[in-house]
Symmetry: C2
Subunit: 349 residues, 2 copies
């Protein structure tokens, strides 16, 4: 996972299918250059000149409104291709969503080890999309910094806790097939892809910082310094929900780890969150938190199921979900003639 | 110069001198720990655990309102210590300033090669300042990324041009004495310090991206790829304002380089700008630009003089100054007993 994120959601501003498909072809060609560290032709904006590719990856997603606009129209003749699981997230208790930073017809997730490279990529896709798409909202984020921290260490989020210890690992192919990759029971063009759910989770940092460490640990279900499951000593010690301390569960049953754990949620997702600090709000409080991205083979049995299980999460006192979005991400392009969305736009090919 | 910036301006919310001085002592002690990569005592928020110091530097500044509040009061008995040059910036043509992100009684500039380290430092100073200060506004920024680019290369700003080629260099001690460090003709406590002027400069990115490269180069006065002064070939070739191309000045007289150059502005500053991308505005345009920080021995003969000279700058079409602030930064602490502002708060010592 790279250090930086620039995530952007677009509204399509044309009602014609061909300009949209043309733009996706142009985006794919540009993405090939960008991910190789090369400029995007003569109109390139230039701020990445002299910088390496910086492990840039670009991921595209298609939102529910691409298949059926808010007014019910099938603007691009794609309704028949709509994957059944691609629906907006249901409301959850405590949601504080802002529609201006939610949803979108398309998204691009740009990840790189240099923010300038990620920003440059997004900016040039925006440039190439002029007249076809308009940026609806965007979010920048940061994670581990490879230059200063050991690659093996689990990074800490802005709550000060290690985040991602029990994430799905690339080595676990069986779990990836079960939880991550879209299977053959879904839309043809999406098989081998994944659903992306994005939630901007504002943390009430000042409230959290006023809570003693031991209480914070009870909320999370792990120790702060080591990141060990409560009742254990080391980060990767097994999470033992039967363990008792002073006659009570070592890991409280309203803790975040307890409620989100696959054992109790009955499912798993590939999480790919980035911290964000967007300055300060009108009250002088840090506008900061986690831009949570999760990939799963079906949002209903992935994020939605976990989030429902978190309705009694002790952490809810300290966080607010301020944006929501869901996108269907097709599998990667297979060869030089392939392009983002070809399977969707040319299904009979 | 480190890769990341977290800049924060504070309002002091108490009217008592002692709690303010106590906080500055506590901040200095915390800064000693933070810049050594250690936590700030038992209340530390923890997100930098396991991370190295990442070249963190912390710089404090005192704003004009610390010496005389907006209503004219001398809240802390500091009026007699006010340095004469410490006054708010005058208005400039084209200013689009927002007061909510301008000014401040105090500022902290946190720079580090890891954003989490910079954010952690600011957050813990905020925590230690509870009841004494409140965050007024904050700005995050990024520059060169040491992990992916050569340390020697001049970084590019979001206009795609190299920025900082002709900056003051640490090796040029004579110029630093003349332009950067406050001299003995100023307030005692500030001698050896510097004045910090901060301007959030929004770039009208989409307008700029629509301009052909040759025209962009005429606006800046340098070539885009190499960063050479127009009429020359390499970045560090001398800037020759007498050179003609096709019977006209190679470097146009309304270009940014021409008007800001020490030869024409009659002065110099130490620039320390960071790029920012704060997402997208309501119109879907990138809210991005340069958070410009300049250090000088006197704002009047530094930033103000240069900015006045830039009133006819061709670049003005593409930028808007959206915030302004000025702070007096004392010299660094000299020993373990010294603290930020001791010379100001204990002048007779």
């Amino acid at each position: 996972m790279q250090d930086r994120l620039h995530f952007v959601a677009f509204d399509v501003v044309t009602d014609s299918r061909e300009p949209l498909a043309d733009m996706l072809r142009a985006w794919t060609a540009a993405a090939r250059e960008l991910t190789a560290g090369r400029p995007t032709g003569s109109g390139d904006t230039g701020e990445a000149m002299g910088l390496p590719a910086s492990s840039l990856t670009l991921t595209i997603g298609f939102g529910p409104t691409l298949f059926e606009a808010a007014d019910g129209r099938d603007r691009f003749g794609l309704a028949a291709q709509r994957p059944l699981p691609l629906v907006e997230m249901p409301p959850f208790p405590g949601d504080a969503l802002r529609s201006a930073i939610s949803g979108g017809d398309l998204c691009i997730q740009a990840c790189a080890n240099d923010p300038q490279v990620a920003v440059h990529a997004v900016r040039n896709l925006v440039r190439l999309g002029a007249g076809v798409v308009k940026v609806r909202w965007a979010q920048l984020g940061f994670g581990r910094t490879s230059s200063t921290s050991a690659a093996q260490e689990t990074p800490r989020n802005l709550l000060g806790f290690k985040d991602g210890t029990a994430n799905l690992k690339a080595e676990n192919g069986r779990a990836l097939d079960r939880f991550l990759w879209v299977g053959e029971d879904d839309a043809d063009w999406l098989v081998g892809g994944s659903y992306l759910v994005a939630r901007r989770i504002r943390m009430l940092i000042e409230d959290w910082d006023g809570v003693p460490t031991a209480q914070q640990e009870a909320v999370i279900g792990r120790t702060k310094e080591a990141g060990a499951p409560l009742g254990q000593r080391r980060e990767f010690d097994p999470t033992d929900f039967t363990k008792q301390t002073n006659g009570r569960p070592a890991i409280p049953h309203d803790s975040h780890v307890f409620l989100s754990h696959p054992t109790n949620a009955g499912t798993a997702m590939l999480r790919r969150g980035y911290s964000f600090v967007d300055g300060t709000d009108e009250d002088g409080r840090l506008d900061a938190g986690l831009f949570f991205i999760a990939y799963q083979r079906n949002p209903e049995t992935g994020f939605v199921q976990v989030q429902r299980n978190l309705s009694g999460d002790a952490l809810n006192r300290f966080i607010r979900h301020t944006s929501t979005a869901v996108f269907a991400c097709p599998p990667g392009v297979v060869d030089e003639s392939d392009w983002w969305g070809r399977g969707l736009f040319e299904p009979t090919r």
